[in-house]
């Protein structure tokens, strides 16, 4: 029988739970330049992600609102922290890296380090049912920046 190598301690660890219980980026942002909603209809995860892109073309501020499971919420918080001060192009590259990580396509630790705290979610690759939860924020941001959504 295939048994996941993940344990409660490896995924739902204190660092991860801190993003769940004390998120830094879960709020309504003032004057965003981009807003985009992402949903996982089957889980009821619902996320509205906002960014403000500054005059220098970088993401000045990122924030999210919504509700869902711990994985979707923590993932959004980690992502918001990661993409702040990046260019949209850099953010898109990180989104792509994250999505490849949770699908198990990237396991190289050096490469995953670029994801900072979000690399904590690497075990999702062993939990196929939860990939959608982990991806929600990244998919939402990626859609937003790719289509250059309106504010």
């Amino acid at each position: 029988m295939a048994v996941s190598s993940a344990t409660p301690a490896s995924l739902y660890n204190p660092q991860f739970m801190d993003h769940v219980n004390n998120p830094d980026y879960n709020y309504q942002m003032e004057d965003p330049t981009h807003v985009h909603e992402g949903i996982n209809p089957s889980c009821g995860d619902d996320l509205v992600f906002s960014v403000r892109i500054g005059d220098d073309g970088r993401i000045e501020e990122a924030a999210y609102q919504g509700h869902g499971c711990a994985i979707s919420q923590a993932s959004a918080d980690m992502m918001s922290d990661l993409v702040t001060d990046r260019t949209p192009q850099e953010a898109l590259e990180l989104c792509d890296l994250f999505m490849r990580m949770v699908k198990g396509e990237v396991t190289d630790e050096d490469e995953l380090e670029r994801l900072e705290d979000a690399a904590l979610l690497r075990d999702i690759a062993h939990m196929p049912a939860r990939v959608k939860c982990a991806e929600l924020a990244w998919r939402t941001l990626s859609e937003m920046l790719s289509k250059d959504g309106e504010a």
Binding site: M1, V3, S4, A6, T7, P8, L11, Y12, P14, M17, V20, N21, S42, C43, G44, G68, C69, A70, I71, M127, A129, R130, C133
Partner: protein, 423 residues
């Protein structure tokens, strides 16, 4: 309702687990998702293999001994299934020809939904009555039929105590009802619905009565005559049989009147360039080569249940469900959805852990090898109506024991601890 010491003792161990290879080989595994699919006893796996090793030939078609043997094996399976659900003819013999094999209960219900409208002449202004607690399999087919025919879809709704009351039945099953299709046991609330009363009212109004038995046939002694229904659908895989076998039982005259669902090989008497004559039931509904080994293994699954008797298994499962409900209700952070009286839960007990998404609960439990279901359980309209997005669901079968439930409760303690910093 607390169990007596004697009752508790009777579920402390499971004499059945040794019969189920997956459970016997994984003593650390806690399987509490039998409402999704049951585990299979070795006798079923052996039967599946035995079919291919000793009688593999295409049933119905061959004029040689092996094929005749395969055909006989399937007819024996039909007879056993018929007896198991009380489908007896006037002479008290099992009515094998009233048993149609499909792929699963969903297909059985789709067969009903695609063919009954023609039988009853369903049209605008007519009503199809289902309940709000239907699995999507007994909901979407009727929803689509209503959209196509202009008939109205009417929902029976339970009261706060999860009961579809006589008043509700009288109000919703009215003179415009042509088809009534209701689940015997809810896969979320776990409650048994008053099918006999609903069927009586349906017939009084001139409507046909279809029953989704996916969650009842594996857990209760079911007698189609006592239920008074016209069609009954269920799946083999929820009662320990193989995946890919469903059953549709029907009243013989009704099955005769229903048009075919799928057409092709095996289901005809004769074919010309412009027309075809259908074979008698059940062959009329079984186009193409069937899963004969699966039917044969389903026979073995029911024979295994009959060894103990459904009454005895039901009694054990009620004790397990009662213990499960009581233990969940004893946790201050757990809310049981459905009746507080655990003995009213047929197998399934849905619950939520305060403030924690069911998917997180299930993932953390999985890490302790406790298997439960989390989500909308293919009953989104019910959850929406109840103001819920998703729930956890633990479900028991007779092979579970007290230790399985204790491990669930311990796992829920871990879940709560992780989210509240005490771990």
């Amino acid at each position: 309702m607390a169990l007596t010491d004697e009752q508790l003792l009777s579920i402390t161990e499971s004499p059945f687990k040794q019969d189920f290879p997956l459970l016997a080989n994984n003593p650390g595994l806690t399987f509490l998702d039998s409402a999704a699919t049951a585990q299979r006893p070795a006798v079923v796996l052996d039967a599946e293999r035995r079919f291919y090793e000793t009688m593999n030939a295409n049933p119905l078609r061959g004029l040689y001994g092996l094929s005749v043997e395969a055909t006989a094996a399937i007819e024996d399976a039909r007879a056993r299934i018929a007896r198991f659900i009380g489908a007896l003819d006037d002479a008290g013999k099992p009515e094998a020809s009233s048993i149609v094999f499909t792929r699963n209960a969903s297909e059985s219900l789709n067969l009903a939904a695609r063919t009954l409208p023609q039988v009853v002449g369903l049209g605008p202004g007519d009503e199809v009555v289902i309940s709000i607690m239907e699995h999507h399999s007994n909901l979407i087919p009727w929803q689509q039929v209503c959209r196509a025919t202009g008939a109205n879809l009417v929902y029976l709704r339970p009261n706060d105590d999860c009961v579809i009351t006589p008043e509700e039945i009288e109000a919703k099953v009215g003179p415009h009802a042509k088809i009534v299709s209701v689940t015997h046991v809810s896969n979320v609330l776990g409650v048994e619905n008053p099918i006999a009363q609903i069927a009586a009212r349906a017939h009084e109004m001139g409507a046909l009565m279809v029953v989704d038995g996916a969650q009842s046939v594996p857990h209760l002694p079911v007698d189609v005559r006592a239920l008074g229904c016209d069609l009954l659908a269920f799946s083999a895989h929820k009662l320990g049989g193989p995946m890919g076998i469903g059953v549709l039982w029907g009243r013989k005259e009704l099955l005769d009147a229903m048009p075919p669902f799928l057409t092709g090989g095996e289901m005809i008497d004769s074919v010309s360039e412009t027309d075809a004559v259908w074979a008698p039931v059940p062959a009329k509904f079984e186009a193409g080569t069937q899963d004969a080994a699966g039917s044969y293994a389903t026979d073995a699954a029911i024979a295994y249940l009959e060894r103990f008797g459904m009454e005895a298994l039901e009694q054990r499962e009620r004790l397990l469900a009662t213990y499960l409900t009581d233990q969940l209700r004893a946790l201050p952070y757990v809310q049981v959805i459905g009746p507080a009286d655990g003995s009213r839960h047929v197998g399934a007990v849905a619950f939520n852990v305060e403030g924690i998404h069911p998917h997180d609960v299930a993932s953390i439990l999985d890490m302790s090898k406790v298997c439960i279901r989390a989500g909308h359980h293919c009953a989104q309209p019910l959850l929406t109506w109840m103001g819920l997005q998703s729930t956890c669901r633990a479900s028991v079968a007779f092979y579970n024991d007290k230790a399985d439930i204790d491990r669930l409760v311990e796992g829920l303690g871990t879940v709560w601890g992780i989210f509240h910093g005490s771990l």
